[in-house]
Amino acid sequence: MHYTLNSNDMIPSVAWRNIWRNPLRSGIIITAITIGMFAGVFSATFMKGWMNQRLEAGIETETSHIQIHNPEYRKNYDIRQIIPKGFDLAEQLSENPTINGVSPRITIQSMVASAETGTGVKIMGIIPEKEKQVTSLSEYVTEGDYFESISRNPIVIGKKLSEKLKIKLKSKVVITLQDADGHLTGGAFRVCGIFDTANSMYEETNVFVRYQDLARLSMLSEGVAHEIIIHLHDQNDLNSTTLALREQHSGLEVLNWKELTPELGYLNEIGNLYTYIFVIIILLSLGFGIVNTMLMVVMERVKEIGMLMAIGMGKLRVFLMLMFETILLTLTGGTIGIMLGLGASLALQQNGINLSNWAQGLEDFGYSSIVYPVVEVQMVVVIVILVILTGILASLYPARKALKYNPADAIRTE
């Protein structure tokens, strides 16, 4: 028997009215679905916001979009594995229309020591004006400034490192490193600025000095670079630009941030996966509640279902009626919950959610303590589809049960 729904069909209308025959029972399950979906949507936007912030922090303040190295350099960070004409290459690259900024760096693994203690760090020799175009680190300088106030051997360090070394602004630190000729050498630098990002680990292990100071100290000639950092105008050009550069500079290693920090690249997918798993678990448990409610409905209406079948309502129509009822019940709760979840997310989009009570632990892993939820249309669509799917699946068992009745027996059930 085939069945098509037309516009004046009564089945959806009957199904909708049936929901409200027992407002308390329907209300309870709708409330449960509402709460579940609110939690699902809100945690989804929260997660999304959090992950995006981590991603952005990672790209904008740490790796930037694309890095070019001597192919041997990243193997053991040997000071001699340089890009000989780094400055010329940087100059040439900045002509590229998709590229926003290019910064050549000298990067050396070294020791930094204060009067109190010392630790291993990555020291980066940069040209401040160029570096500003590729990373936003200068914006995170909370004490002092970015290579302005101190003219001789200035150094910018992270807050976490300053605490570890127990030093303040204008304190002197000593950098010890092996120069390009293999000799151990050292130099005194004075703290010019202290930056404070959301990533304590980064703060602790990266320090910045001026290119010419580091080049002089490490006996590298002017114009060479260990890495060239590239920032694009548009993140969407990432893959194409990476490929183009890789082709043009086959002797060098061209990597984008996804390849340099795969954990950041997967962050988005992991965040989505986590959200979907969370929503599916919520819906699964709600699904059992819905099945239970609908089973009660079917038991309660045995006589009525018998009567409907007797007067000529086919099995498919009875099945569809119960399925509609389940889906409408689920969608009612789902819609309210999703709306509330979106509303809360949008309301908090401006000021963010302050997690500072836990922030210390979070910042150690590079996560910001104030989270700004992000609403992603695609995710909302997926959640809505999951809700409808739950309604359909939850309706199958109760509706099938209703079909097992024989109309003659059902109508005389006591």
């Binding site: 037309n6 409200w20 009525e304 009567m307 086919g314 005389r412």
Partner: protein
């Protein structure tokens, strides 16, 4: 067993058309160790326009007979022919369709869909049949008027008395223009005034529109109104009397 073994089957000496023809009908239940012959060899013809009551004590087989007549239950043997259709030859999905198009049902209770108004309940079967809106509305109003419920179209069943609900059920049963109406103890839950009222309406519809009614009943008031009374006992017809 059965002490009254004679059957008074009337000869067909008038022109009315036979719409139901039952031949050697048996229904046996094997649920327990003992076989129960709920219907034990019934032969019966019903003609168009009859107003017939099937009576008998509890367990006499009235309900089983009516269920088979309505296509709600399958006979163990024998056959039921309604016009040109042999019910035994229909598949269950065809049977549903057949019921929808040919048989009007009035049950003892739970006849109506509680969430629909009187009017919508009457329209419901026509919806299932896919009749156009204009036709549905006209027929519904006509039927509700015939059962004396004009003005109560928009009331839900819970706002109607038991008698009014049964009248809506009668209107609903007629909505699809069935060949006959099966009413299973339609007055069992009604007081005498409502019973009287309902019977008068059905009798009127029978007279005016030649609607065939078949009741099963315990109710003497229904028996008194009926034009033909078929008495069952132990699954057999023990008497069949026409009044007119």
């Amino acid at each position: 067993m059965g002490t009254h073994n004679h059957q008074t089957i009337q000869p067909h000496n008038h022109t009315a058309m036979t719409i139901i023809e039952i031949k050697e009908l048996f229904k046996t239940y094997n649920d327990s160790e003992v076989e129960v012959h709920a219907v034990n060899g019934v032969d019966l013809n019903i003609e168009e326009g009859e107003f017939t009551a099937i009576v008998g004590p509890s367990g006499s087989g009235k309900t089983t007979l009516l269920n088979m007549l309505g296509g709600l239950d399958q006979p163990t043997s024998g056959n039921i022919r309604i016009d040109d259709t042999d019910l035994g030859k229909l598949k269950s999905s065809q049977l549903i369709d057949f019921r929808m198009k040919n048989i009007g049902f009035v049950f003892q209770s739970y006849n109506l869909i509680p969430v629909l108004t009187a009017k919508e309940n009457v329209e419901f079967v026509m919806h299932l049949q896919g009749r156009p809106k204009k036709e549905r509305e006209a027929r519904t109003m006509q039927l509700l008027e015939a059962v004396g419920l004009k003005g109560r179209e928009d009331s839900r069943p819970s706002k109607l008395s038991g008698g009014q609900q049964q009248r809506v059920a009668v209107a609903r049963a007629l909505a699809s223009k069935p060949k006959f109406v099966l009413a299973d103890e339609p007055t069992a839950n009604l007081d005498s005034k409502s019973t009287e009222n309902l019977l008068n309406i059905m009798e009127e519809l029978n007279k005016q529109e030649k609607i065939t009614f078949i009741f099963s009943t315990h109710d003497q008031r229904v028996v008194n109104k009926a034009h033909r009374v078929i008495t069952l006992e132990d699954g057999k017809i023990i008497s069949d009397n026409r009044k007119k």
